[in-house]
């Protein structure tokens, strides 16, 4: 069917799928994508391809998203507050590795680390490689499981070895992302992530201090990257190329 022959229902369906894309993306490509969809129809394969394309457009916005930056800064701030709480309180005896009163702080930090590591993975760009993909899967699954285990502990539902296993998986993913970033010539950021991963499996309380310090350094680099990328996207070249 030609574009001119598209029915109202087909045009409506095409517009719905185009509506899944970010606004800035639609402003640039929305009209022509709708015209293509009205010409080509919307089979199952096309719909899946559009869903994947929309996700890709959200993950690679025309202007760098501040969300991963806010997440990294929040995660480091909560990790520092957690480290300060440990430094100023007597060592816990009934919560190995954790101080019960400080659990909300590390929970908030781990919660923020999920979008933060996704933002770090996106720095690998399209050619993220097998290591980057393994890293982001391990990191997101690990941080999510660690978060669930910490919440279960804080609410006294359960506390056990799962907390340590989940944290270790999260750190393995973080380390893999760090190595992948080093492989993409992001030596400083990759090294800092590796240090954060090592600190995450180091014995408390020294490990928690190192964890807070490493994530603070990561957050500083992420903020600097964001400032540079924002300036580049507003420059004469327009949208910056993902690095």
């Amino acid at each position: 069917m030609t574009a001119g022959g598209a029915t109202a229902a087909e045009r409506s369906r095409a517009a719905r799928y185009v509506g899944l894309y970010p606004r800035t993306w639609r402003d640039r490509y929305g009209d022509e994508l709708e015209a293509v969809l009205e010409s080509d129809g919307l089979g199952v394969r096309t719909r899946l391809d559009l869903l994947r394309g929309a996700l890709d457009a959200h993950l690679h916005p025309a202007r760098p998203s501040p969300l991963p930056v806010v997440a990294a800064v929040s995660a480091s701030a909560f990790a520092v507050a957690h480290a300060i709480a440990l430094a100023t309180e007597p060592a816990p005896t009934d919560w190995p590795g954790y101080l019960e009163a400080a659990l909300p702080l590390i929970i908030a930090s781990v919660l923020a680390l999920i979008p933060a590591v996704i933002g770090l993975w996106l720095k690998l760009g399209d050619g993220d490689g097998a290591l980057g993909r393994v890293g982001i899967v391990l990191a997101t699954v690990g941080y999510a499981a660690w978060l669930a285990a910490l919440v279960a502990a804080a609410t006294r539902l359960a506390y056990g070895p799962l907390t340590a296993v989940a944290a270790t998986v999260a750190m393995a993913g973080t380390a893999a992302l760090g190595v992948a970033l080093v492989g993409r010539n992001r030596l400083l950021l990759g090294t800092l992530l590796g240090a954060a991963a090592l600190a995450g499996v180091a014995p408390p309380a020294l490990g928690w201090y190192a964890f807070a310090a490493a994530w603070t350094a990561v957050a500083v680099v992420v903020v600097a990257d964001f400032v540079a990328a924002s300036a580049a996207s507003e420059g004469p070249g327009g949208r910056s190329v993902a690095s």
């Binding site: 574009a3 993306w25 640039r28 490509y29 009209d31 022509e32 994508l33 709708e34 015209a35 293509v36 969809l37 010409s39 080509d40 394969r45 096309t46 899946l48 391809d49 559009l50 869903l51 994947r52 394309g53 929309a54 890709d56 457009a57 760009g125 399209d126 050619g127 993220d128 949208r239 910056s240 190329v241």
Partner: protein, 113 residues
């Protein structure tokens, strides 16, 4: 600027197909999809098409022309043509080397009687 398309990951293959279709002249989205399908035998979905077009534009390998009735044609830039040529020459080199090895291997293989 990278001299190849390797940094585009899963978009490297569609990028090559799009650059090839544009090497014959400017085309809009639907025409690129149809030409790429004819060229490679593989369907190029619209989601992948526009994700790839945006990357190629960002890298200065293609550029858009004024819109005609909601259809925006794209054309190769000089840089895009150079990258496409380099890619094709690399593929040609691999094909020649591979065929030469295959020929040597066939000649040295014992025949069964």
């Amino acid at each position: 600027m990278r001299p190849d398309l390797a940094g585009l990951g899963r978009f490297a293959q569609p990028s090559l197909a799009i650059l090839l279709t544009l090497s014959e002249g400017p085309k809009h989205g639907y025409a690129i999809m149809a030409a790429a399908r004819e060229l490679t035998g593989e369907p190029l979905g619209p989601g992948t098409l526009y994700a790839t077009l945006s990357r190629l534009e960002d890298r200065g390998l293609i550029e858009s022309l004024p819109t005609e009735d909601r259809r925006r044609p794209y054309r190769l830039t000089t840089n895009g043509a150079a990258v496409l040529r380099a890619q094709l020459e690399a593929i040609e080199g691999i094909a020649h080397a591979g065929l030469a090895r295959l020929g040597r291997s066939a000649r040295s293989r014992p025949t069964t009687s």
